[in-house]
Amino acid sequence: MIILRIATSIFVFFAISRAYLRFKDRSLGATGFFLWTSIWALALLFIFDPNLSSIIAELTGLGRGADAAFLLSIILIFYLIFRLYIKIDTIDKNLTTLVIKLSKEQQINREISEKTNQ
């Protein structure tokens, strides 16, 4: 159990440091940084005090603490996948708009230069 706690703690601190670096170089906003830090801090709490998950389970009526942690993890993963999908979709759409704009401008410039050379 101690080895697991140490390994998890190292991983959590590594994850928080990555989030901090992204926050520092402004690729992650303050809300995003707060959210990620909270998630990882919560994971750390669950590892060091497993009873905490039982308290949540009792409060939410989910039975065992492990069930509550499992359900929360699934909800979080789904949410993150959804966010990623939206982000990728936005980038994809912006890329298409850029390609369309470029191709139109390229042709207009080509026609202008052809007319000038005539």
């Binding site: 994809d92 759409k93 298409t96 369309i100 191709s103 139109k104 390229q106 207009i108």
Partner: protein, 230 residues
């Protein structure tokens, strides 16, 4: 081509079509359609050169973005530069027949429709393979259900857009799903639409180039996800 004062443009999205693009262009020219715009969708062969040599104007997309994006490029460019009365969308693989253009633009000129859609199922001329026919029919039921419209062929790339459709239609999907976008735009903008029978000729070349039958399921999922997010 019948005589008309309308400015008619044909837009052809093309990706790696060096083998067939020149014959498609000359086929259109034989029928009197001189205003041809090819949107070269990031091809890595000689599609651009072949299309220029055949006498079409060519727009180049620097990377492949899909048929929907290529059509959007073509329609936007024509709208901004030439202000056409009619835009015909035509495939680059030789499936569509230039002889059908007269029938597809007629309702725009004479009957005050905003958009005319070609249908391969209104007559029995098209030689669609059985599996393709089944998948297309399933696609028609699916699209009619989610788009609240009644059409006999929802994924036919052969269409004619009148002035209102040229101004209003906004293609948001970059791939083959753009066909559903166009149908959604018809309902959203209350465009007056009509279907006319067209002949689609399936050849080994067009089957190799065209949308794979398995791709239709993927397309359906994409359309559903878009509907869920919006």
């Amino acid at each position: 081509m019948e005589k008309t004062s309308k400015k008619i443009y044909v837009v052809i999205p093309a990706y790696n079509e060096e083998t067939g693009i020149a014959s498609v262009i000359s086929h259109l020219k034989d029928f009197g359609y001189e205003n041809i715009l090819v949107v070269n969708d990031g091809s890595n062969d000689h599609t651009e050169e072949k299309a220029r040599e055949a006498g079409a104007e060519v727009l180049n997309q620097i990377i492949n973005r899909g048929q929907g994006a290529a059509l959007r490029t073509g329609i936007e460019y024509l709208r901004e530069v030439y202000a056409p009365d009619i835009i015909v969308t035509f495939d680059a693989d030789g499936q569509h027949q230039a002889k059908d253009i007269a029938a597809i633009i007629k309702p725009l000129i004479e009957e005050k429709f905003d958009i005319v859609l070609g249908s391969r199922f209104l007559n029995k001329k098209s030689n669609a393979p059985l599996l393709r026919k089944i998948v297309l029919k399933a696609g028609i039921i699916f699209t009619n259900l989610i788009s609240n419209i009644k059409l006999t062929d929802t994924h036919n790339g052969f269409r004619a857009l009148g002035e209102k459709a040229i101004q209003k239609i906004n293609i948001s999907h970059r791939g083959m799903e753009h066909a559903s976008d166009i149908i959604d735009e018809i309902t959203k903008n209350k465009l007056r639409y009509k279907e006319v029978p067209v002949e689609i000729i399936y050849t080994d070349y067009s089957r190799a180039k065209g949308q794979r039958t398995s791709g239709f399921a993927k397309m359906g999922i994409k359309i559903l996800i878009k509907k869920l997010i919006q």
